[in-house]
């Protein structure tokens, strides 16, 4: 079982719990933040191995968060997977250009998300 720590940045409480339970069931440690400001703080404190980032967030969108995270020496290298309800037609390219590992539109298939997480973490199963 993987023992990586994943930071979920998601403002919808239900989705946060759903995702958290799914990841925990696969052996991941999960920490979370629900807005753009605490996201940066939690990332710095927790030093996650991977970040799942929503775009529509209170107090600044996911792009702002991504930029701030990339500016933090301790966190800059952490892979970020975008999981957003927003249309990839309009946002995916921008997210990838900004350094995201990949972009998923909600609802994302469990298997696809878990595979992408393993890929990003470099876990071979």
């Amino acid at each position: 079982m993987p023992e990586a720590k994943i930071l979920i940045i998601e403002d919808d409480a239900d989705q946060l719990i759903g995702l958290k339970l799914r990841l925990q069931a696969h052996g991941y440690t999960v920490v979370h933040a629900a807005d753009a400001v605490s996201a940066v703080r939690v990332a710095r404190q927790e030093r996650p191995d991977l970040i799942l980032l929503d775009i529509g967030l209170p107090a600044g969108d996911g792009f702002v968060v991504m930029q701030r995270l990339h500016n933090l020496v301790d966190v800059a290298h952490v892979p970020i997977i975008i999981v957003s309800a927003r249309d990839p037609e309009h946002h995916a390219e921008r997210a990838l250009d900004a350094g995201a590992y990949c972009y998923f539109q909600k609802p994302v298939d469990n298997r696809e998300l878990l595979d992408a997480i393993e890929d990003a973490l470099g876990i071979t199963v």
Binding site: Q15, P107, N110
Partner: protein
């Protein structure tokens, strides 16, 4: 999104301009006097070249041309104007008003109105005013239509976005339960939750179709064309829809001959077309029926691969076989009137396939079933 504003919008409504082309200075001077108080710029040219210089440099609403001029006749001039500036209204004002000239001008669609010299300036002014008003009304109408389209796009995009959040939570928790992450399930619980999941997937596909329909209308639907085999795509779609078919006790099978040539298409979009056709067939096929997916290379068209979906459904009346591909359309008087949908699925299929340079059609017999044909291009195609 704001991108829609990049499409051709009518030019700014200021200032209106009327251009008169006549080689007789006194005619121009007379018109200038008569029309000086009218609410538009009156531009004058005494030769076709000068008139074109003006047309190239600014927007002109109406062109009024003489017929008999050195270098170029009015009919020829106005025909060129029509080709270069189709939005510009064209009048002829001539002293050589023979029946032949008038007939030719009208038959060549060179002019909308014909005046003879000497002309009553008040009548001409009135006609110009009316033509400008009509043009203004058309312009406003087009602007309103564009605004409505953009508004509808924004609305659909917003709705689609908003629907995805609760859909995500439902999907997450249903799959958590189904995977036994909240305890073991009885087989009945398992069965019921599978039904929930199937419907969640269907709802998700509908949200996607809704957004795509809006995109096709505003020309924002992009295709990622590539060479690929349709076999895995057909298999994947079938395995996704098998549970839905099984719920109605419908046999869903694919018989694909080998080898099949690769197609040049967007695999995601092609799968969307197949999914829509299959969902449609499942919807209109009574329990215990069957649906078969096939593929063949038509002998009379070496440039396409033909994908077929044949069902034993209620069939489509001949007068409906074209209409079902129209937007928001559904065949009336189907056996089971409860089978409603958005009426977007087949429309979206047609739009997607047409954009590939392909074709979609149906053969059907009421009470016997239908076969949908999708002709997918086998080679690169210059898109319209």
């Amino acid at each position: 999104m704001g991108d829609a504003s990049l499409q051709t919008t009518p030019e700014a409504p200021t200032p209106r301009a009327v251009l008169v082309l006549d080689d007789e200075p006194n005619v121009l001077a007379g018109l200038r006097r008569a029309l000086r108080k009218e609410p538009y710029d009156l531009l004058c040219a005494s030769a076709a070249d000068a008139a074109f210089d003006i047309l190239h440099s600014r927007a002109v609403d109406i062109v009024i041309s003489d017929q008999d001029m050195p270098g170029m006749t009015g009919t020829v001039f106005l025909t060129k104007v029509r080709q270069l500036y189709p939005e510009t209204i064209r009048f002829m004002l001539t002293g050589q008003a023979t029946l032949d000239v008038a007939l030719q001008a009208i038959n060549d669609n060179a002019v909308s109105q014909f005046f003879t010299k000497p002309c009553d300036h008040a009548t001409l002014a009135q006609n110009i005013r009316e033509a400008l008003e009509q043009k203004e009304a058309e312009r406003t109408l087009e602007q309103t239509r564009q605004q409505e389209l953009e508004l509808k796009d924004r609305l659909l995009s917003h709705v689609s976005h908003e629907l995805r959040s609760p859909l995500t939570a439902i999907y997450q928790f249903v799959t958590l339960l189904l995977d036994g992450l909240a305890g073991e399930l009885t087989s009945q619980q398992q069965e019921y939750l599978s039904i929930v999941l199937r419907n969640v997937n269907q709802l998700q596909a509908m949200v996607q179709d809704l957004l795509d329909c809006s995109r096709t209308d505003s020309g924002q639907l992009h295709l990622d064309l590539q060479w690929h085999s349709i076999v895995p795509l057909v298999e994947e779609t079938l395995s996704t829809l098998k549970p839905t078919a099984a719920a109605k006790n419908i046999d869903l099978i694919a018989t694909l001959p080998e080898p099949l040539p690769q197609v040049y298409a967007d695999p995601v979009r092609l799968q969307q077309v197949l999914r829509n056709l299959l969902e449609n067939s499942i919807k209109f096929t009574p329990p215990s029926g069957s649906i078969a997916v096939g593929a063949h290379c038509p002998a009379d068209d070496p440039d396409v691969l033909c994908l077929t979906v044949t069902d034993t459904g209620c069939g489509i009346r001949p007068e409906d076989t074209t209409r079902i591909f129209e937007r928001l359309s559904q065949a009336t008087d189907t056996i089971d009137e409860n089978r409603q949908g958005l009426g977007l699925g087949l429309y979206l299929c047609r739009e997607l396939i047409t954009r590939h340079g392909g074709r979609i059609w149906v053969d059907s017999q009421v009470g016997q079933g239908s076969t949908f044909y999708v002709a997918v291009p086998l080679r690169t195609h210059n898109h319209p």
